[in-house]
Symmetry: C2
Subunit: 424 residues, 2 copies
């Protein structure tokens, strides 16, 4: 017997038929003898509708900037998960399974006061554990908790993954199953590389890099949380036929397990190739190379909430001026250039160049730590395919390369192949 | 300055444009210097959609009877009011009015444990009053509270009226304004009698009779509550242009005030004519006239949740057998006859006759108490119009007459005219 948290996203609960299908997945795990808690998202499309209402509502004041109270946003938007939780509890009950819905304020799931993007601070799992012992399935509304002000607080988009992992940690679950519309984590995007393989295991560290680099399977925060609390995540598809899956101990249903590095016996050097589109490159030419110049550049950008990613600064030839290059999301480019031009005198650059059409391609693998030459393999492969490299940054387990958007698919395919990731 | 509760029903908050219109009504009262709390229903159609999902959900079990957990029903359905409350708070904020939404569990509005049809047991109005004093408008989700089990409990359909009056009582409001899609209470249904007049004042007692007899303006429970707590209700239209209404002290905007009898100076003998369709008549012929026979008839009907209305029993000629006539809703007729036939030996009747096509027409007015001949005027008028009377019941302030459905409009018009209710 294991204790499991199952999480179902919006497409998995899109309508009553899909919710019944989810109930069948839950029933299968209950029948296999597991203790089960479930976390659900809103029915797909519903959150967008509610968010859109909130954004459209303040039209009457004739203001330019849309304005709304994040606490009211939370009250409106969190209703979507509330509906799904109640409906799934009913579907389970109709299959003779003891189940009840839980809203964030009922457990409670206590959060920070940052409405709209709150952090979970504390979950009391005691009653859930006690009821699981009596065979009851907890159906918990994802994406929400209750703030210090006793008002509903949501966790930000994609927060249901985080809810699920936090609940798994609170009730000491053996595993957190994230059911989604894909059947696992792949070596790269199968739409670009048809020979991409599903990974049976990925380490938390690698998944963090993949998640933050654009592989949209899991929310970054949920992986961080799982790493901290040592909760294994199993990514799997809710679109598989519930009846065809073996949930008995020792069975290996299709999916990807995200777990500690130690548990991955056959470690690959490179695990996957990720990419992130819609990057913009900004270069400041002939910046005076004096102490504090980096703070002068990035301080105002941070104050303006511009998310700066890759930063490259070369050592200057004569110690007087240097070039500084970094990337920002395309959507922040206008704001970033405006902020920098305002600070021009303070920073002391001569020219600001920007280019919006960039893609960041990344090679990820914990095996890099112990293998030399991984980076040079990438550079050589891209050179042989005629891909010009704009900037490079590296970490212990990742090499990120900025290239022109036009070369994105070519580069991903070349790297996927050169590291031997293609299906046999 | 007055302290007001404003309640807006589903058609008044049907979409974002209508919610902005509601905000304009609220702003007008705030600008006139009043302290304001608002109660809202779900956007029109939304509650039906949610209820339908709950009823459809348990399909998978293949059971005949739809089954669902009333606690889950409440969690799902109460989400509708939650959305409206948040959106209205945002609309008000965008008009520079300090406002916040309140959900049932936040105030809290404590209810009984009867999920799906709970009763309000206690409301803590302290924080609302304190915040009103600082100029904040409370936007309270109607129709819901929190039960002793710390789960959302709804009050049953139409419960938002009850929420509004209960809140008005808790915060000692001077008046509870029920905004709806009609501009007040009329002497009878204007669709049947175009010359029907809007009443400027109606007593609680009269409104109770009208509400329970089929005038669908207000929920019966809300009028009972208003009577007990002495909260005047003002029924008015949310479709009037907010800008055209004078809310200053002493102004009399269009609508109907429901208040204590004492406050109605010019008392009419008859205030209105109500009618209720879809009544079925059941007659038990030659029932043995022994003690306990009424209990033998109505006990099993009550156990089967059949709502028995008019009951007529004649004194028997020789004290041995009697006829017993009563009405039930058409929708309960089959259940009622089946229950009675099962108890036939115990009750001891010879024949059961039933007739589904009945209408109950009622003449209502507190003035009846002090005026003789009101009933005979009705009977004479119906006789002159050729309307056959099936049964009669009376109370202190009401005469109800059961007639064939075909004569409904004729009877309502005749009675409306004979008591001088037609517009001049």
């Amino acid at each position: 017997m294991s204790r499991l948290v199952l999480k179902f996203g919006g497409t998995s609960v899109a309508d009553l038929e899909r919710i019944r299908n989810v109930a069948a997945h839950v029933k299968r795990e209950v029948d296999a003898g597991h203790e089960v808690a479930v976390t659900v998202s809103a029915m797909s499309g519903r959150t967008n509708e509610l968010v859109n209402w909130v954004h459209t509502m303040p039209g009457i004041a004739g203001k330019n900037a849309p304005f709304f109270d994040a606490r009211e946003y939370d009250a409106v938007v969190a209703s979507g998960e509330q509906v799904t939780a109640g409906l799934l509890a009913i579907a389970l009950q109709s299959m003779e399974i003891d189940a009840r819905s839980w809203l964030g304020w009922q457990l409670p799931i206590k959060t920070s006061s940052a409405h709209g993007s709150a952090r979970i601070e504390e979950i009391d799992g005691g009653e859930i554990i006690e009821r699981m012992g009596r065979g009851q399935v907890a159906v918990i509304a994802g994406f929400q908790g209750v703030g210090p002000d006793n008002r509903i607080a949501t966790l930000g988009r994609g927060g249901s993954d985080t809810s699920a992992v936090a609940i798994a940690a609170a009730i000491k679950a053996d595993r957190c199953d994230i059911y989604t519309d894909v059947d696992g984590v792949y070596t790269t995007d199968p739409r670009i590389v048809p020979s991409a393989r599903r990974l049976s295991k990925v380490s938390f560290e690698e998944m963090l890099e993949m998640a933050s680099l654009g592989a949209k399977v899991l929310q970054v925060r949920s992986v961080e949380l799982a790493k901290v609390h040592g909760v294994p995540i199993f990514v799997r598809s809710s679109f598989d036929d519930p009846a065809s899956i073996d949930s008995s101990p020792g069975a290996t249903p299709p999916g990807t397990l995200i777990c500690d590095e130690d548990e991955i016996v056959e470690q690959q050097v490179v695990t996957g190739i990720a990419y992130a589109r819609d990057e913009a490159q900004i270069s400041l030419r002939r910046v005076s190379d004096k102490p504090g110049v980096a703070a002068a550049v990035f301080g105002p950008l941070a104050d303006a909430n511009v998310n700066v990613d890759m930063i490259v600064q070369n050592v200057s030839e004569d110690g007087s001026v240097t070039d500084m290059t970094f990337t920002v999301p395309n959507s922040d480019l206008e704001k970033a250039t405006s902020v920098l031009n305002k600070s021009r005198d303070e920073i002391g650059f001569e020219v600001l160049q920007s280019d919006p059409g960039m893609v960041k391609v990344s090679v990820i693998g914990v095996g890099m730590r112990s293998h030399a030459g991984v980076a040079s393999t990438a550079f050589r492969s891209l050179f042989e395919h005629g891909v010009n490299i704009r900037a490079i940054t590296t970490s212990e387990i990742k090499i990120s390369i900025l290239i022109d958007e036009a070369y994105a698919e070519l580069a991903v395919r070349a790297l996927h192949s050169v590291y031997g990731l293609d299906k046999e």
